[in-house]
Symmetry: D2
Subunit: 101 residues, 4 copies
C-alpha cells in the first residue's frame, strides 16, 4: 500500500520547513521505505504501520501548532508490494524510455 | 477534528455506488456526526475514532475489490468542536447572509 | 463535471474565513450551481467555466496573501449532468432510505 | 507555482498505466519542468500553462474513457521559482543531512 501525505501548520506563517522536518525525522525512524517529494511524502507499508506514522507526526505537530492541515492519498492494490519503485517503472516500460527529470 | 474522505474501487467499472453505500452504512453505525456530500463524506470526531471508521470501510471494500483509491483530508484546530456546523456559519456571518444552494 | 476545491492562505494565521468568504462571493457571482461544505466548495459545470472560477478566486487571494494552498478534485463522467444532486440520491436509493445528517 | 496532479480512468480496470503514460507524453511535450512520483506528477510553472497541460491530459483521456478521477494540489508562493528542487533542499538543510531514499 502506498500512502502519500502532506501535513503542515497553517498558523505559523509562510515558511513551515521547520515543522515538516520534524515529520521527516519521525518517518525516517519508522524504517518504512519512503520518498520525499516537493509536495509531500510517499511511504509504503501496511495500513496500521502507515497510519501510526501519520498519527505520530500529527501528535508532534499539534503540541505547538493550533491549526494543522493534513491530506492523505492511499493507493491499495491486492497482493502488490514494492510499488514505490514499480509504479514508475511500469510507466517507463509503456513509454519505452526512462522519464526525464 | 473534521475528516473528509472519498473511497472507491477502481476495478469495478464506471458506477461504484454499490460500494460507497456500504461505507455509508459503516459510517452511520459509528454514531459519529457526519455529512455526505457529492464528493465524499465529512465526519467529526477524534483521530482514533475517525481513523477506525476509515479503516473499517477499507477492510470491507478490499474483501471483494482489487484496487482501491482513498483520499483523506483532515482539518484540526486546537480546542474546537462542533465544526461540522460552525465552519459554514462562520462564512455566512462574514457574508452577512445565508449561502444559497 | 463536479469540481470540489479548497483554497486558503497559509500565511494569515489560524482563522481564514475572511479570505474564504471572498471566494464564495466569486463563486456565487459565476451563477454555476454549487454547494458549500465544511471542507470546501463543490461546483458543477464544464472544464473551462469551472477552472475560470478557481483561477479568479486564486487571483483575488494572491493580491494580499503570500502563500496559498489549493486542492482540487474533479469527477468527470461522460454525458452526465445534474450530478450535484444525483450522486447522493443514487446512494440513498441503494440504502433504501434518506441519509441522516 | 508547483502543481501536483493525479488523473486516471476508473472504468478501465485495475491497471491504468497505459492511460497515465499518455499524460506523461503530453507533460513532457510541454517543456515545463516536472517530476513523476509513484503517486502523481509535479509540474512547475505559471497558472495558465500548468492548467493548459492538465486540461490537455483530460481531453486526451476522455476520448476513450467514461469516468475520470482527477486530483490537483497547488502550492503557490509569492515571488518563488525553482521550487521543484528547493523545497526538498530546504528540508535537508533543516535536518542537516540529505534525505535517505
Amino acid at each position: 500500500m502506498l500512502l502519500e501525505f502532506t501535513m503542515y501548520p497553517t498558523d505559523k506563517g509562510e515558511s513551515v520547513s521547520e515543522y515538516v522536518a520534524r515529520s521527516i525525522e519521525i518517518i525516517n525512524a519508522s524504517r518504512l521505505p519512503y520518498q520525499l517529494t516537493p509536495m509531500g511524502t510517499i511511504i509504503e507499508g501496511e495500513w496500521d504501520e502507515l497510519m501510526a506514522v501519520v498519527k505520530k507526526c500529527h501528535e508532534r505537530m499539534n503540541k505547538d501548532c493550533n491549526r494543522i492541515s493534513c491530506s492523505i492519498k492511499i493507493d491499495w492494490r491486492k497482493g502488490k508490494t514494492g510499488q514505490l519503485k514499480q509504479k514508475i517503472q511500469s510507466i517507463e516500460k509503456r513509454l519505452g524510455k526512462p522519464i526525464s527529470k
